[in-house]
């Protein structure tokens, strides 16, 4: 491991250069993807700076301005407690980004490691892991999430767990199929012949080489995780009040006051759609750029 540091300076410089050309090419050849990436970045900035840019306190209730229509004071109106909708949407992106990135990262990573492990050992181990993954796969996503929430209770960490668990077998499936090809690579044989431990071969020699499908999965999971979090919160099984979260803002009150205060139903939904749209746009272009087989000529 120490050698990584020893030689770190130079390869990183060349890696940085390659990244730069990749990014430039990506923006030039896939403008839609670049737009998606820009919106994703914007979302991240909003999430980070929510407390700075928001006009109000997301939790402050104002009974003098309940269900107020969009106006100069409240650009996107207020909700049933007189809370500013814009503020809650801005803060809500914190929840969405946090859930989205943690779920996608943990789910894709754990899934990839399990998939690679399954492919590396093959035989009975592979068969066993595949069967277990099959079991989880045949549990519908939302039902698995429901069960996890019922077990652990609501709250941010539990929502993250509930959304991550069903993602793992999906990621494992994809990673396994790529890893099966890598398993046959001579450099994996070389690592085995060198007497390295299984864990090292799986983590250092095989996993980094399923990077392209991993990144593709990661971006696809980002949008899915945000959607799932919104669905769970909408059902009252996700993040709980008064935490600002988009799905939660649509829950109950939004439907109830749909006629009198439609802004409550429209804007949080728009926020969800826009965020997921951007992630998908970016993810799609990234997939095209990374996977030559899927590239349309």
């Amino acid at each position: 491991m120490a050698t990584v540091e020893t030689f770190a300076d130079v390869p990183e410089a060349s890696a940085a250069a390659r990244w730069r050309t990749f990014v430039v090419d990506f923006c030039r050849q896939r403008p839609l993807g670049a737009i998606g990436a820009a919106v994703v970045l914007l979302n991240l900035v909003v999430a980070a700076l929510a407390n700075v840019i928001s006009p109000y306190d997301p939790l402050a209730t104002d009974y003098g301005a309940m269900l107020a229509a969009p106006s100069r004071a409240h650009w996107l109106g207020t909700d049933a407690f007189g809370r500013d909708v814009l503020t809650r949407i801005l803060y809500g992106s914190r929840t969405a980004m946090l859930v989205g990135f943690s779920c996608a990262f943990i789910g894709a990573t754990l899934g990839a490691v399990i998939g690679v492990t399954s492919a590396y050992f093959g035989g009975k181990v592979d068969l066993l892991i595949q069967r277990v993954m099959d079991i989880f796969l045949s549990f519908p996503l939302i039902i698995l999430a429901l069960a996890v929430v019922a077990m652990l209770g609501t709250g941010l960490e539990n929502v993250i767990a509930a959304i991550t668990v069903p993602m793992i077998p999906r990621a494992a499936l994809v990673a396994r199929s790529s890893a099966l090809a890598i398993r046959e690579m001579p450099y994996v044989d070389a690592a085995r012949a060198a007497g390295f431990r299984h864990g090292r071969i799986i983590l250092r020699h095989m996993s980094p080489n399923v990077m392209a499908p991993y990144l593709i999965m990661l971006t696809a999971f980002l949008g899915q995780a945000i959607l799932l979090e919104a669905s769970l919160s909408f059902l009252g099984l996700g993040v709980s009040e008064p935490t600002p979260a988009w799905g939660l803002m649509l829950r109950g009150a939004a439907v109830q006051f749909a006629e009198s205060a439609p802004w409550m139903a429209i804007f949080p939904g728009l926020a969800i759609s826009l965020a997921v749209f951007a992630f998908n746009l970016f993810g799609d272009s990234l997939r095209d750029a990374l996977d030559p087989r899927l590239r349309t000529q």
Binding site: L32, D134, L250, I266, S273, T296
Partner: protein, 317 residues
């Protein structure tokens, strides 16, 4: 082929068994039980004896392994038992709701196919033109729009512009088809959009794959219609992945309509599932999960069968 079918059928058993075992233990790990929940509303306090009697009635006083054996032997005889909450036989509980959910799922499938096939084919034929871009953006937006939010928007539009709301009470199709449609077309549309987005994208890439074949490339110069005719034969194979996503998405809907049903106040499987988990109704939850998992596994099996039928090499893997 027979050997392959038998092999695949046998492989389904451990998966279903795993699902059954998993949900059994998952439910027991969930804190709180049905008896506590049932009496939790009563303020006067319930005596320990009452709770114990109720537990004994439901068989919850037995050791876990005993409950497990009872459950598994019941399954072996295809006996799902009775709901712990309502006391009604589970197949009675499920029947009507299953019909409703199935109908919404079928309707959204029809909507999705009607949208996806023409749009996907068109986008592929007109690749990299504004038509293609519009279709792609339309379908990516479909993936990004939560069905439940689309449902809320539908309700909003109907309410604000037409001063009308879909009927709240479920009418079976064979009783009054018009009434039934008025109620169910909206959730079907809301779900169908997302569903069609998945299928459109698959149709487009499958078509592109076909169009890339050499003999079709030579026909590029000819008109769009000829191109379509030329690809007719190749299309059959290319449609396999499209069929796959449609089938899998359909299986997914059987358990995935939870949120949409909530929005439209539909008494379907999803709502029943949420309730049964909330009530810690072990028997009902187990039955529902098995039902949904079984439909998913069966659809998966049928898809695999279709692949093996078209491409015999798969059978040897």
């Amino acid at each position: 082929m027979t050997k392959y079918i038998i092999k695949r059928l046998l492989l389904m058993i451990p998966t279903l068994l795993g699902v059954a075992v998993l949900i059994f233990f998952l439910m027991r790990v969930v804190p709180g039980d049905i008896v506590e929940l049932r009496f939790s509303g009563e303020t006067s306090g319930v005596s320990k004896e009452t709770l114990a009697i109720e537990r004994a009635r439901l068989g919850l006083d037995k050791p876990l392994w005993h409950q497990f054996v009872t459950y598994m032997t019941g399954l072996a005889r295809f006996d799902l038992g009775t709901s712990m909450w309502t006391g009604a036989p589970i197949h009675e509980e499920i029947k009507l709701r299953f019909a409703l959910t199935l109908q919404v799922a079928i309707m959204s499938t029809i909507i999705a196919v009607l949208l996806a096939i023409p749009l996907g084919v068109l986008a592929a034929l007109k690749q990299d033109t504004w038509v293609d871009y519009s279709v792609r953006i339309f379908s990516i937006a479909g993936l990004a729009t939560p069905s439940f939010w689309l449902g809320i928007l539908f309700i909003l539009v109907l309410l604000v512009f037409f001063k009308w709301l879909p009927p709240m009470v479920y009418t079976p199709f064979w009783v009054n088809p018009w009434q039934n449609m008025l109620q169910l077309i909206w959730p079907a549309l809301a779900v169908g959009y997302r569903y069609s987005a998945v299928a459109t994208r698959m149709t487009r890439s499958a078509m592109l794959e076909v169009l890339r074949e050499d003999y079709i490339r030579t026909a590029r110069a000819k008109g769009l219609w000829q191109k379509l005719i030329l690809t007719r034969h190749a299309l059959k194979n290319a449609m396999l992945p499209v069929l796959t996503v449609i089938a899998l998405e359909f299986a997914f809907l059987m358990g995935g309509l939870v949120v949409t049903e909530q929005v439209f106040n539909l008494n379907g499987l999803g709502l029943l599932f949420v309730e049964s988990v909330a009530h810690r109704d072990y028997t009902l939850t187990q039955a529902l999960v098995l039902l949904v998992a079984a439909s998913f596994i069966v659809v998966n099996f049928l898809v695999d069968l279709a692949y093996a039928w078209i491409d015999p090499r798969i059978r040897f893997r």
